[in-house]
């Protein structure tokens, strides 16, 4: 069961890679990059999971040593938290580029844009 989860996450990353390389529409390329972002975030969070683990927040009057031995890993969660917000900034930047492309060439099709650019 464990190795199947990792294989499925890599499959999601490969689907995103296919979307970036093989699609002609700019919006589909943007969606491919976002799928790669989701897959990487998910992989990082899944690495830090402890079986039947508790959240990394101490309840009141709890033994810290016992909680620290039963909690999930907080380090990947901290890195992924900022990565999610950076993914939103990345999406905004790509949408701005798509808007500019449409203003200049009138289409979202990459082959048309390459033909018109010359």
């Amino acid at each position: 069961m464990g190795i199947a989860i990792y294989i499925l996450t890599f499959a999601l990353l490969l689907i995103g890679l296919y979307g970036v390389i093989a699609k002609r529409n700019v919006i589909k390329i943007i969606l491919g990059v976002l799928i790669i972002d989701y897959a990487v975030n998910m992989l990082l969070v899944l690495i830090g999971y402890r079986r039947d683990g508790v959240a990394p927040i101490v309840s009141a009057d709890e033994d810290v040593k016992k909680w620290a031995a039963a909690s999930v890993d907080p380090l990947p969660q901290a890195m992924v938290l900022t990565s999610i917000v950076i993914g939103l900034g990345l999406a905004a930047l790509m949408v701005a580029m798509a808007i500019r492309l449409y203003q200049k060439y009138g289409t979202f099709d990459m082959n048309e844009i390459r033909r018109l650019k010359g």
């Binding site: 927040i57 900022t82 917000v85 900034g89």
Partner: protein, 149 residues
């Protein structure tokens, strides 16, 4: 009744009522980041979604009379500078980013050293930054639809 900018009056009144609560909730989530789930980044995106609600419901022209572009840009830069200031002030107790406020009792709001201040700085920075990007992107209109006025 002449149709103004933005959406219908039901949407506008609901947005007026709800966006204040969303913004307060975002500040709450950011300030109690050291006592429960959340923190500066989660609070920042919640505050920016409250601003996005106002921009969507009222149209960009009316919304920028209240949330002007200059205020958003200045808040963005202020948030980043505040975070850097907290880092540099750590030199007072020895090193970069060291905590210069004593660690208080556990579970109170005023505890955990510089973490609540850092959460506030990150809240301002992320909220204003994402709201500014949203404002810049909403200045464009779909071709073929005449502006409602």
């Amino acid at each position: 009744m002449k149709q103004q900018h933005g959406m219908t009056s039901i949407v506008k009144n609901t947005a007026r009522l709800v966006s204040g609560f969303i913004a307060i909730f975002g500040v709450y989530v950011a300030l109690t980041g050291h006592l429960g789930p959340g923190g500066g980044f989660a609070g920042g995106v919640i505050v920016s979604s409250a601003g996005a609600l106002i921009v969507l419901a009222f149209g960009r022209r009316l919304a920028t009379k209240v949330i002007t572009d200059e205020v958003v840009h200045v808040a963005d830069a202020l948030g980043a500078s505040l975070f850097l200031l907290i880092a540099v002030l750590g030199f007072l107790t020895g090193a970069f980013f060291a905590s210069f406020i004593p660690v208080g009792d556990l579970g109170h709001l005023k505890s955990a050293g510089t973490i609540p201040l850092s959460n506030l700085a990150i809240l301002v920075k992320v909220g204003a930054g994402l709201l500014g990007a949203f404002l810049a992107l909403s200045a464009f209109r779909l071709a073929g639809k005449e502006p409602s006025s």
